[in-house]
Symmetry: C2
Subunit: 512 residues, 2 copies
Amino acid sequence: MLTVYAPCLNHRLTPQIKDASLAMLCDSGTMNGSATFLAEAQALLGPRGVTLDGELMAPWLTDWRGRYTGRALALASPASTEELSALVRLCALHRVPIVPQGGNSGMSGGATPDASGQAILLSLRRMNAIRAVDADARQATCEAGVVLQTLHEAAGNQGLRFPLTLGGKGSATVGGLISTNAGGTQVLRHGSMRALVLGLEAVLADGSVFSALTPLKKDNRGFDLKQLLIGSEGTLGIVTAATLRLIPAVAGRSVIWAGVPSLQTARALLLHCEDIAGNALEGFEILPGDCLGTVLDYLPGARPPLAGRHEWHALIEVVADAADAELLGERAEALLAAALERGLVEDATIAASEAQAEAFWLLRESISAAERARGPAMQHDISVPIERMPDFVDTAKARIEEDWPGTEAIAYGHLGDGNVHLHVLAPPGSERAAWEAGDGKAISRQVHELVTAWGGSISAEHGIGQLKVDELARLADPVQLAMMRAVKRALDPAGLLNPGKLVTLAPPEGTA
Amino acid sequence: MLTVYAPCLNHRLTPQIKDASLAMLCDSGTMNGSATFLAEAQALLGPRGVTLDGELMAPWLTDWRGRYTGRALALASPASTEELSALVRLCALHRVPIVPQGGNSGMSGGATPDASGQAILLSLRRMNAIRAVDADARQATCEAGVVLQTLHEAAGNQGLRFPLTLGGKGSATVGGLISTNAGGTQVLRHGSMRALVLGLEAVLADGSVFSALTPLKKDNRGFDLKQLLIGSEGTLGIVTAATLRLIPAVAGRSVIWAGVPSLQTARALLLHCEDIAGNALEGFEILPGDCLGTVLDYLPGARPPLAGRHEWHALIEVVADAADAELLGERAEALLAAALERGLVEDATIAASEAQAEAFWLLRESISAAERARGPAMQHDISVPIERMPDFVDTAKARIEEDWPGTEAIAYGHLGDGNVHLHVLAPPGSERAAWEAGDGKAISRQVHELVTAWGGSISAEHGIGQLKVDELARLADPVQLAMMRAVKRALDPAGLLNPGKLVTLAPPEGTA
């Protein structure tokens, strides 16, 4: 039987009901469906576990980029998987939607509730224990609320590392990273979050616990449910813990900044680096020459790595473990010498110190903020097959700038993964809100259509959330969309898990 | 709405109706539901595409190990994805179950129909084109019927290789390997089939085509439907083509045979090899001393690699690409010298030639046949967390041999993957059929219970098929089983795709 999400709460408790204790609600005769639910939730989770305080809730009701603001019935913060399981059962009973949230650092509004105020906002941040770090087996078992930076430190203390990092590492949580299959700058060698999860625990829509934390390298007992949950943005289950892969700490790195004449040459340089450095190649990022200028203007005291001007720049990182560390410098020089000889780079430099290596990476990491400071813009996190990326970027930039006079399109990012961030800047003097809602939106639609026509993805690493839910419904392969909806209906028939995100259920058959 | 598989064909055409043309069926007045279906199927696929000839069907109606024999309405062999799509739509219309089959070399009866004769046997073997090998992008796009050996050769011709191999490589097909998430002896470094599929095409239960052959390294547009289909044993969709990962050809290998005193030491040796050889470690197989004796007795002219007797043996393969090939011998010797110094091996030898390397591997590959030649036995393809494997094997062997006097339990295989094949030999003089159906079955149940208690899998690489479908239903985590059933119902509501395999649907609510 299909049951589509149908709100059944008539009474809406809003953040404005500040400090309204449940006792007061009961005394004043307002006890009804929501109040019963909230009283039962508070009984389950205790006073720290459920809050109706608008001030406490407010920071979590707007996404960090300020694009979405929602309302919630309450903020629930369970302390354990058992508490969460009981809470979800209660939500299922009362048909209360649940919006899970980790560090609230997502890029697509996937953790922000809608404006109805009918859902509970579910914080996993209290569940923040690192249950174990097993240096011998090279794995760590973490609860969902563990912050990425904390995991990095715990692994580092054992001479190991967790090979995924991104700008929001100080707030992003393990649960959020898994639910969104997060990427970053080390995907080239180590894969995205999907590749690093060895075991998983999650609470499903009926409150049952999917429990598969024990890693098995080989297990052919049926469907890959773990991978189905990873990247499902909380719409199929709520990640509560995971066993993650660790690898030996890096003993040294060589960071190269190279100037190249075209993206096609950058791609040839990437293949050259893959052939010579193999698994030691850990990063390959690209940025256009103009974009470097923008970053240099934006960052106080920043200096250009190379003397001359180049159409494109590549930032390359090669790493070594303890056994190979002493050969690293020599190898990086040989790699670069061969690239110069083959005409793959116009000029290049190797960071002479760790400080300089960090300065190079700071240039890369500041692109987003520097470009945003120039004015209103639409950003697109897209991928196409790696070998087609150079031609795609050239084509898309020309098409957008021609069709929308005054705009400027800039592509930068993870060329090694076939994933760039395509930033389209509004014509000078555009008014932000009007441009974003008008031309900006039309430009995004055009970018997404182009990407789709080139066999690519409208979301390479940032997910769908609420930002791209309509675009996914518009542009996804109808067969795949139907499969996703069927799976969503099967595992969350009442539509209570993160409604309105990723995939929305079509109306049931027989209705309009 | 849930619809559980309900056969609606009253008339059963069996293999015995040899050469019965549909015209004859029509003329003789026997045209009914099945005949209509068959006439329409033949119109869609042409005479080569549908056969009712019992002799042509017979070889494919029994699995290669001779454990299962079924019957089929017809053997359908579509020539293209389009033909298969139309056929599946027709099957959905007529409610005809479909049993997909690749090379018929599976280990669990997953490609053999049941005895009812109501299903069509679907051969993918005519769809055997290698559509493209892209040496630059290191990938090959193959149709489902491509034989593994053929893929190996096509990759080899381009200086590349497909890094998955197994005993049945001369008959196993790409589609079957994907549907069963096949393993083999190279999983340690390269992962099982799941890790090697970059893009996938499959026909779903309603005949629609899941089309995702174009590889994208990063794609966060929702649920991982590709991984959901891989390893689903044809119960969620029928794999028709895939884009597979290729890697550079191996320029050299060093094969080591080592004698070790215990499995615990073998595990320490494995860690030692991983630390020193890193990604160059491509195989780590173990076999007990007695088992080597059995193989030497079985293989004419075979010689023991080492002079003395050892409780356990490890077969280790270290590989090198072109850049490292010349250092390979030196590195293998250093690895072994350090292992001897640390007391991790009692004795060891490095194959002096490629012929000797192959002779070492032949010993490993002959275990299964040699053990089977000793008499009736139950085999178990199991995994537990790698670090627990040594203690598990010791415990399970002692328990089984104590509880079932006269039996002998032998574990061998992929220690590096936490996956061994546990072979339990019947007491001397046991009558095969009676022992297998009686004590043998009880022993298997006990082995599966032990594995489950140790956090392991009752099927590490051979899949569930029909062989373990009852054991999975008995021992799987009920939450995961319920999820699998929900997903199966969602994607194949009529239960027509490979019924009776992997996961069977519970009776619908409200019925007995």
